[in-house]
Point group: D2
Chain length 305, copies 4
Amino acid sequence: MDLEDAIQSCWSRIDNGHVATYIPALAKVEPYQLGVSLYDLKQNNQTGAGSTKIRFAIESISKVITLLYAIEQLGMTTVAGKVETRQTGFASDTILNMEITKETKPLNPFVNSGAILMTSLIKEQDQQSPFEQLLAFTRELCNDNQITLNEEIYHSELRTGDMNRSLAYYLKAKEILQGDVPATLKTYFKQCSMMVTCEDLANLGAALANDGVAPWSGQRLVSSAAATYAKSVMMTTGLYNESGTYSVKIGVPTKSGVGGGLVSAAPNRYGIGIFSPALDQAGNSSAGLALLEVLSRELNLDIFK
Amino acid sequence: MDLEDAIQSCWSRIDNGHVATYIPALAKVEPYQLGVSLYDLKQNNQTGAGSTKIRFAIESISKVITLLYAIEQLGMTTVAGKVETRQTGFASDTILNMEITKETKPLNPFVNSGAILMTSLIKEQDQQSPFEQLLAFTRELCNDNQITLNEEIYHSELRTGDMNRSLAYYLKAKEILQGDVPATLKTYFKQCSMMVTCEDLANLGAALANDGVAPWSGQRLVSSAAATYAKSVMMTTGLYNESGTYSVKIGVPTKSGVGGGLVSAAPNRYGIGIFSPALDQAGNSSAGLALLEVLSRELNLDIFK
Amino acid sequence: MDLEDAIQSCWSRIDNGHVATYIPALAKVEPYQLGVSLYDLKQNNQTGAGSTKIRFAIESISKVITLLYAIEQLGMTTVAGKVETRQTGFASDTILNMEITKETKPLNPFVNSGAILMTSLIKEQDQQSPFEQLLAFTRELCNDNQITLNEEIYHSELRTGDMNRSLAYYLKAKEILQGDVPATLKTYFKQCSMMVTCEDLANLGAALANDGVAPWSGQRLVSSAAATYAKSVMMTTGLYNESGTYSVKIGVPTKSGVGGGLVSAAPNRYGIGIFSPALDQAGNSSAGLALLEVLSRELNLDIFK
Amino acid sequence: MDLEDAIQSCWSRIDNGHVATYIPALAKVEPYQLGVSLYDLKQNNQTGAGSTKIRFAIESISKVITLLYAIEQLGMTTVAGKVETRQTGFASDTILNMEITKETKPLNPFVNSGAILMTSLIKEQDQQSPFEQLLAFTRELCNDNQITLNEEIYHSELRTGDMNRSLAYYLKAKEILQGDVPATLKTYFKQCSMMVTCEDLANLGAALANDGVAPWSGQRLVSSAAATYAKSVMMTTGLYNESGTYSVKIGVPTKSGVGGGLVSAAPNRYGIGIFSPALDQAGNSSAGLALLEVLSRELNLDIFK
C-alpha cells in the first residue's frame, strides 16, 4: 500500500482534533502534522511517510515501556500480582472504579494509578536512578540513542500534575504504593517527557510484534510472556476510555499518548509508529487513529478476523 | 495434543467450583462432568473427549447468537449504533456503570442489559416469532437440528428473573428499549434455555473462527464483519467480570454461560466447545477455563502472541 | 404576617419553574397558581391566601402518609428495620447509591425505592385493600372526606411508570420487597393520584407538628414517635436532592410532591400547606419554596435557630 | 436528671467500641473513660459528671470551629458558595460521591474534602498564621485559654495523612482549592490536634445553642446566621456516615471527633460536651452517643418532636 496516499486520505481528520492544552509546551505544537512509520517483520525493513523524523513527547506510551521494564526487573508474577488487566469504564485519571468496588489493585497498568504504581516498582540499580534505567531501556526498545528528556515538558508536567499527586497519595494511603510519592512522580513525569519519533515507535511496536525480539538485531529485548502481556493490555486498555470501541473497529494492539503518538504491534506482522498531535475527545490522535484504521483494513491486521 | 490427557489434568479443578444454584434445574446438574470438542479448520474435522454429547443449558452463550442474528436482520450499523463494546467494571447484571456515567447505550452486548436489548431488536418475520427464528438460527450455527427448548429451565428463569425485569424496565424507562418488556423477556429466557452440546459449541466457534463460513458446508452463515465483531467482544467482555483477566491469560475469544459451557473461536484455526458445570466465583466454568488455558498454550492459540 | 403580601412577594418565582410534563394530566395544569394555608397550633385556627381550595395531585407527599400508616400498622421497630434514614446524593428514582454500597435497605422512605417498599408493607385488612386503607387514613390526617383518586392521573402514572417498575423489581430480586410487584405498584400509583388542597396539607402538617394529635379534634392520629420520625426524615430527605440545601436555608421539616404541593410541620407551632405547580430543577415547587422561606423567616420557624 | 446515673447506665457501651488506632498517640488512650458536661442556658450554669477535666484531641470537632471562623472572616455568602450542605452516602474521607456526580464543590463542610477546603480559606491576618488564629478562636469559643496543640498527635497526623493529601490534591487539580496544599494540610492537622475537655465542648455547644452569643459573657462570638448554619449541618452531617441515623434517633445537632469527643447544641436549651474515646464502626464515640440519647430523651431535646 502507498503510505503517502494513506496520509492524504486521513489529513482532513486533523480538523476534528485539538492539541493537548494542559501544558504550554504541548499547546504550542503545530497540529497539522501526520507521520507514519511501518516496520515490516517479513521483509525486515522500515518504510514511512510524512513527519517520521519529528520528535514529540512520548507521554502515556511510556507506560508500555515502564510496564515492560518492571516485568524485566521484578518478574511477571510480581507485576501481574500488583495490577489488574481490566477496562475501567471511567476516565484514565480518576480513582472512581477502584474506589467504588474497593479494589486493592489499580485496574490496569495504563490508567494513571496503575502506571504510577508500575513506575514506583522500579528500583535504583547499579547506581542508576529509575529514570536513567527507563531512558536506557527506551533507547534500546526504540533503537534510538538520541532519545532525551524534554526539560520544559517535564517541569510543566511537574507543575500541573496535581491529579496524579492525588492518585499517588491515594495509592500510598491504601498501602498499595510503597516508597516515596514525590520521587515516584518525578520519575513518572520524566518518563512522560521523553522525545521520540514515529520511527522509534515503529521499532518498539516491531519488537513487541516479534515476540519480544528486536528484528533489527535478533536480540531478545523482553520475554515472550512480557511481550504477549503488553499486547493484550494494549488491545483492551491502550486507547483510554475508547479502548473497547477500537478493539472492535481496528483490532490491533495499540497504545496512545497525548503527545499525539500511537504505537501498534500487529503480532508477527508489523510494528507501527504514528504521530499526529491533534487529539479527539478521548485523548487519542484523531488523524492517527483514522490512519491506523486504514492500515488495519488494507494490510488485514485485525487479529479478530 | 491428547484431549483425554488434557481433561485429566484439569479434572481436579472441578473441586474449585459450584454449579449454578439460582434455579433448581441447574442446581441438580452433576458437577463432575468435563467435555471438550475441537473443530480443526485446517483438517476440517472434529475431535473430542469427555462429555461431548451431554446436553446443557446454553444460557449466556446464546447472547452471541442473538447478537449475530440481530446483525443479520438489521445490519451492522444499526446494531453497533445501539450498544457499546466496553468492559463495565461491574457484575453483568447491574445497571451501575450505565447509571453512573449516564450512558445512553448498554455498555456491551453481553452484559444482561445489552443482551436483553439485542433480543428486543428481533422482529417477528414470516410469521415466525423471535424465538422461533433464534432457535432455527442456533441450529444452523451449531449444525444440530436436535437443539430444543428446555421448558423446565425456561419456566424457572421466568420465575426468578426479577433482576432482568428490573434491567429491562430501566431500558424501557430510558427509551432505549422499544417494544414490550414481558414479551422480550420471554424470548430472552427461552434463548437461555436451549439445550446444546460441546459439539454444537465447537461448530459455532468454528463458523466464527472461519470468518463466518460454516466449514462443514462452505456456506456463509454470518458476514465477515459480524464474525469479527463477535470475536472482538467475546475477547473483551465474554467472561463476565473476569474478561480482562483472561484476555491476558488465555487470549482466545470466548463466551461462557452459567450452564457450564464455553465457546471459543481461534481465528482461522479452531472452534472449541467445552462443558463443565461447576462455576468459579465469576460464573465461568472452573475446569473449563483451566482446560481452555491448556489448549491455548499447547496449540499456541493466544492471538496476542 | 400578611399571607396575601407574602404570596405577592413570591409570585414572580413561578416564572423560574415549569409544571411537571411526564404525564399529560400534570402538563396541562395552569402554572400561575399559588396558595398557602397556615394552621396555627397556639390559636388553633387555620388562615390562608391564594388558591387554598384548588385540588392537585398529592404525588410524593403521599409518601409521608404511607410511612405513617406502615408505622401504625406494623410498629416503628419493624418499619425502621426495613429502611434507612439517609440522604442519597443522587436523584430520588435511581438505585445508584444502594447498588454502589451494596445496601440491603432503601436509603430512606422518600426515595422511590423506599416509598414503594413502604407501600408494599401495607396489608389487606378487614377486607379493605391497601389503597382503601391509605385513602381513609389520608382523609383522616387531612380532615377532608372529599379526597378522592384522580383516575386520569392514576392511569397516566401506570402507563409511564417504568422506572418505578425497574426499582420495584430490583427490590424484589434482592428479596427486600415481598409480595406482588404489579399489585404494589398499582397501590403506589393510586396513592400518588389522590387530589388534595392546601388546607388538607396544612391539617396534615398541623397533626405532625402537634406530636401526632389532630388539633381540630384532640384525637391522636399517629404516635408521638411516628410523628417525630416523620418530621426528622422530612427535614433530611423531604425535598428530593435539595433536601440538604433547604435544611440549611429554611430549617422546617417539609415534604414536596411534583403536583406542586408542599407540607411543612413546624414543631409545636404550625402546620403549613402550600401549592404552586411550577417546579424547579429538583422537582420542588419554585414559588412554594420561596414562600416557605418567607414564612420561616417571618414566623421564626427555623428549628436550628 | 442525675448525670452520674446517666453515665453509669451507659458505661457498658464502652465495650462495644475501640479507640482509634491509626496513630499511636490515639491508640494508647485508655478506653474506659466517660465524661459529660452540660451547659444549661436557662440557669446559665455548667454541671458535669465523669471525666470532665480530661484533655483529648478535638479532631473532627475542629471542623465546626474552622467553618465558623471562615464565615466570620469571609462572610456567609462566600463560604456557602464554596461548599454544599448534603449528606454524601459514603465515608467521610472518600472523594466518591463528588467524583461520580461531577460536583464542583465538596458536599459539606464536615467531610474531609470540605473541611480541608474550609481550612484553606483562612488567610494570614495581622501577622498571625491561620492556625494561630484558629487556636485563639477556639480558646474564645470554648472559654478556655489552656487549649494547646499536642505536638505528638500533630506529627503523627502529618505522617499518616496520605488520604487527606490525596483529597487536597484532588481539590487543587479541580481548581476548587486555591493556595498551597502542604501549608493547608499542616494547618488542618494542627487544628485536629488541639487538646480540649468536655467542659470546653459544652461551652462551644452553649454558644451555638445561644444563637452565637457566649452565655458566660453575653458577648456575641459568631453571627446568628453562622450559628444556625452550623447547627443545621451538624444535624445532617455531623456524625459521619451515620448522621441520618442519629438525626432520627437523637435529634440534636452534634459533631463528633475520633478523639472521642461530641459537641451538641440544643437550640436555646443546652450546650453539651461528651468524651469517651472508644468509637463505634462509624467513628463516633460509642458510650458517648448512648449517653447523648439518654440526655435527649430525659431532657426532651429532640428538635423534631
